[in-house]
């Protein structure tokens, strides 16, 4: 466990740019499958490269996290909250990495050409009805779970910032804030 009180600037930039990208991605996804208007094609054409970008950023972010670590959680944080924080972060990372791969696999399993910004990517699976169905259902289900998890994540962040005022939010806040006083974690 590192003794730093805040995530590094690189980690904060990754967090907030990905937050924006992922929330946009989920709204684009749920919106595009609900319309037959020409927006459908526009949204699909953003969805694919944005998904690929999120996959790359997520892998970079995971590597950075494994290398530089994270500020510890406050010592007085109740055990259930600590556990929830840890598990939800595993789930967030899993979703960030799995969703683009599932999407790529699903498009491949439907024998669609995988075209991103005019570039044709290789199919990562052969056409297969069963795989396509499995991956499509997973993509949809995980999208809703991912969005729910993000709402919980936002609620928890705000809870730390406004109610507990324990420095956890400040560790990741995009700019230094005067509100919370970071307390040494360990």
């Amino acid at each position: 466990m590192t003794a730093a009180h805040r995530f590094t600037p690189l980690q904060r930039v990754l967090h907030w740019s990905m937050a924006l990208a992922i929330v946009a991605m989920l709204f684009i996804g749920v919106g595009m499958v609900s319309t037959i208007r020409p927006d459908y094609l526009t949204l699909v054409s953003i969805h694919k490269p944005l998904g690929l970008a999120i996959l790359v950023l997520a892998l970079v972010r995971l590597a950075v996290r494994l290398r530089v670590g994270t500020p510890g959680l406050p010592r007085d944080l109740p055990r259930p909250m600590k556990l929830a924080a840890q598990l939800s972060h595993y789930a967030l990372y899993a979703a960030m990495i799995a969703m683009p791969l599932i999407g790529w696999g699903m498009v491949s399993a439907a024998a669609y050409p995988v075209q991103v910004l005019g570039v044709t990517l290789p199919a990562i699976l052969p056409q297969n009805d069963g795989l396509h169905t499995l991956l499509w259902n997973a993509h949809r289900a995980i999208a809703f779970l991912f969005f729910a998890l993000i709402l919980v994540h936002i609620a928890a962040g705000l809870f730390h910032a406004l109610v507990r005022r324990d420095g956890v939010f400040e560790a990741m806040s995009p700019v230094p804030t005067g509100g919370g006083v970071a307390e040494p974690a360990e």
């Binding site: 989920l26 709204f27 749920v30 919106g31 499958v33 609900s34 319309t35 037959i36 208007r37 020409p38 927006d39 459908y40 094609l41 699909v44 439907a110 024998a111 669609y112 050409p113 075209q115 005019g118 044709t120 056409q127 009805d129 069963g130 396509h132 169905t133 499509w136 969005f147 993000i150 709402l151 919980v152 936002i154 609620a155 705000l158 809870f159 406004l162 109610v163 005022r165 324990d166 919370g180 006083v181 307390e183």
Partner: protein
């Protein structure tokens, strides 16, 4: 550590947090159309295609009756004047195609179906396929995807004899289709049909100039005109047997003619034909070499989504390709999930 002393002082913060979560969830639900019952979703459009007895599981939700073929497209290179796509550059490219009938029920007798279709997946070596799904009608029945949905709903209202009259009054363009459907003769073969894109697309040439186009595949075979009754007399699945025999006896071919719009032509409305005399480019020849039953045929796994286009081709201001793409994806998702209901060893022509 600054800990407020009384729990009451947290109420404002907790209300704010609850509002942020509720607002986020509501915005998501709104974007997904869950709060807007009137939104025409792809699922609703596909639902509306179903016959009164419900969709036929495992099959395409429209143009459900069809047969696969293998062949090739030989481009003359003349199309390169319009698009830089490799598929129009001089050369020969493999094709996986499908002849089909415009019905949601693969068990419909041939003589009961007015609209015939041709779908192509042309695969040049650069990995950028061109998919197109065309029909033999010279113009589309309606001007917009919403009107198409309204047409499906109105024609499904068997309880309301006025539903179609009300629809026709609001969408007079349907009259031309009605006149065509009543007067145009049937032909005796899939090989004798002219198939039209109807939708317009934008082709971009190597110099970067855009050309708005529509295209047609013109048959080499001489059409044999048939009345509906004469076609019915030949049997419910006559067309599939006929095309299989005909192609076994010799390859069948079509000429690809690409028509270029002039300023002011109705590019956004496939119910309106463009005036005669437009520049037309003869871009190549489609050759059909081998017919394969659909159940385990190479076309079964392909979604002939007309927005699967190579670089050098893109959608235009015509709203239909986007709507078709969205709806075809739903049809594909459903039928592949139901693949067990359409066994790959199903006997061709047997009732599903």
């Amino acid at each position: 550590m600054q800990r407020p002393s009384s729990p009451g002082s947290h109420v404002g913060s907790l209300v704010l947090i609850a509002a942020v979560v509720a607002g986020g969830a509501a915005a998501f639900a709104y974007t997904g159309g869950f709060l807007i019952p009137g939104r025409l979703t792809p699922a609703k459009l596909v639902d509306a295609l179903a016959p009164p007895t419900g969709p036929v599981l495992g099959h395409r939700r429209n143009h459900a009756k069809g047969i696969c073929f293998l062949g090739s497209f030989t481009a003359t290179g003349a199309g390169s004047a319009l698009s830089r796509a490799q598929v129009l550059a001089k050369g020969t490219y493999p094709v996986i195609g499908r002849f089909n009938l415009g019905t949601p029920d693969p068990g419909t007798p041939d003589g009961d179906v007015r609209v015939r279709g041709l779908s192509l997946d042309i695969e040049p070596a650069d990995g950028q396929p061109w998919r197109t799904a065309m029909i033999d009608v010279p113009f589309f029945p309606v001007s917009t995807p919403q009107a198409f949905y309204d047409l499906l709903v109105a024609s499904g209202r068997k309880d309301d004899p006025d539903a179609m009259k009300v629809f026709a009054a609001a969408h007079p363009e349907i009259g031309a289709f009605g006149a065509w459907a009543r007067s145009a003769p049937f032909t005796a073969s899939y090989a004798e049909e002219r198939y039209n894109s109807l939708n317009s697309f934008v082709f971009t040439d190597a110099a970067g100039a855009d050309h708005v186009v529509r295209w047609s595949f013109l048959p080499a075979a001489q059409p044999e005109a048939l009345s509906a009754d004469a076609l019915k007399a030949r049997g419910p699945d006559y067309l599939e047997g006929e095309i299989a025999k005909r192609v076994a006896a010799g390859p069948q071919s079509w000429l690809l003619a690409i028509t270029v719009a002039e300023p002011g032509d109705p590019t956004a409305d496939p119910s309106k034909a463009w005036p005669e005399g437009r520049r037309t480019v003869e871009a190549g020849t489609l050759t059909v070499d081998r017919i394969v039953a659909e159940a385990d045929g190479p076309c079964r796994d392909i979604n002939y989504d007309p927005t699967v286009l190579p670089g050098g081709m893109r959608t235009s201001d015509d709203p239909f390709p986007a709507a078709r793409s969205a709806a075809y994806a739903v049809s594909y998702n459903r039928r592949t999930a139901e693949a067990g209901d359409y066994p790959r060893d199903a006997v061709p022509g047997a009732k599903p």
